[in-house]
């Protein structure tokens, strides 16, 4: 069976779609056949972030409803041969995602030989989000160092621990904490929760810290996963997170303020 990795958070706008694209691309780069599915029915975004918006003909819901086959709906990434994308529907409503339907798609993807199925969860705790959670083997909890995001993440952990398939069967979903939009300077100044604070409060194993980065907007503007910008801080931080997910031990980077040289301080640059 393919391994289902659900990227979730409760709160919107914290970086789930950015992270789903990066993680899926990272897994494909590491040699694993990977598909990334947009569960945000009605508000699809993953296609834009992945740069395939003009290639969407059929989507996740059209496969569930039997209108199209998986082969027709899967979009093969042009940069990474092992990566495919399954877009969300823009028109149908979220009730179109049924447990049986989603389960069958996951099974078929496994049969096709995909090793990882990355699920980009919508915000909230309604159908799209609970469906993305239900089948998870692993959950990547995307959290910003900010009160409402941390609280919502904890609610999602509660749902994972009671309403997921694994929980129902007496098991457990593997939980990983991914802190995003981290600003070490503000943490240093006591204006932002530190990674230690967030880890302590949520009590979930940290898989990575992604800095607040201009590279993210640049990547989404042009339509590629930021992990492919291998020179950028966010790209490197995502690469580290994927490597840790695959069992490698890597130290955290970009978690302390950059030491500014005298010249850049005078010139006021520093990026």
């Amino acid at each position: 069976m393919a391994i289902v990795v659900t990227v979730t958070s409760g709160k919107g706008g914290v970086g789930k779609t950015t992270s789903s694209a990066a993680i899926a691309a990272g897994l494909a780069q590491a040699g694993h056949r990977t598909v990334v599915i947009d569960f945000d029915v009605g508000l699809r975004n993953l296609d834009l972030v992945m740069g395939v918006e003009r290639r969407v003909v059929f989507d996740f819901v059209s496969v569930i409803s039997g209108e199209a086959s998986l082969n027709q709906a899967l979009i093969q990434d042009k940069r990474l041969e092992r990566l495919s994308i399954l877009a969300a529907s823009q028109t149908k409503d979220k009730d179109a995602l049924t447990e049986d339907g989603v389960g069958q798609v996951i099974e078929q993807l496994s049969d096709m030989g995909f090793e990882y199925i990355v699920c980009d969860s919508p915000a909230g705790i309604e159908r799209g989000a609970t469906m993305a959670l239900y089948f998870a083997d692993h959950a990547v909890i995307v959290t910003n160092p900010e009160v409402s995001s941390v609280r919502d993440s904890d609610r999602i952990l509660g749902i994972l621990q009671s309403k997921s398939k694994h929980a129902e069967e007496g098991g457990r979903v593997n939980e990983h904490l991914l802190i995003t939009r981290y600003d070490p300077v503000r943490v240093d100044q006591g204006e932002m929760l530190s990674k230690e604070d967030v880890c302590d409060i949520l009590a979930v194993k940290l898989i990575g810290v992604i800095p607040e980065s201009k590279a993210v907007l640049k990547a989404s503007n042009t339509g590629f996963p930021v992990i492919l910008d291998a020179e950028s801080d966010a790209g490197m931080a995502y690469s580290d997170a994927v490597a840790r997910f695959l069992g490698e031990d890597r130290p955290l980077r970009f978690v302390t303020p950059k030491k500014q040289g005298l010249l850049s301080r005078i010139l006021g640059g520093g990026d």
Binding site: R151, G158, Q189, G190, L193, D197, I201
Partner: protein
């Protein structure tokens, strides 16, 4: 200019305030999650019984379940009015 000292690093930072508030809130919310499903109904019914005898507000009755080893302890708190 001592006034800057008031807002300086030595005072409790806003991040520390966030951490404290979250710790309290989340431990409370986890307690509620861990409790059995009938807890909200039980709380409502107990409240109705208490109200038959004393005038209490809804927020003056609290009920929670604590795990202690393999036993669960049901804790009921009623704040009675002064007179």
């Amino acid at each position: 200019m001592p006034i800057f000292g008031l807002f300086g690093r030595k005072n409790k930072s806003s991040a520390a305030a966030a951490r404290e508030r979250l710790q309290i809130l989340i431990s409370h919310e986890r307690q509620n999650r861990l409790g059995p499903d009938f807890l909200p109904d039980l709380q409502r019914e107990i409240l109705d019984v208490v109200k038959k005898y004393v005038a209490v507000r809804d927020d003056q009755v609290s009920i929670r379940v604590d795990r202690e080893g393999d036993a669960s302890v049901l804790e009921l708190n009623v704040t009675l009015p002064e007179n």
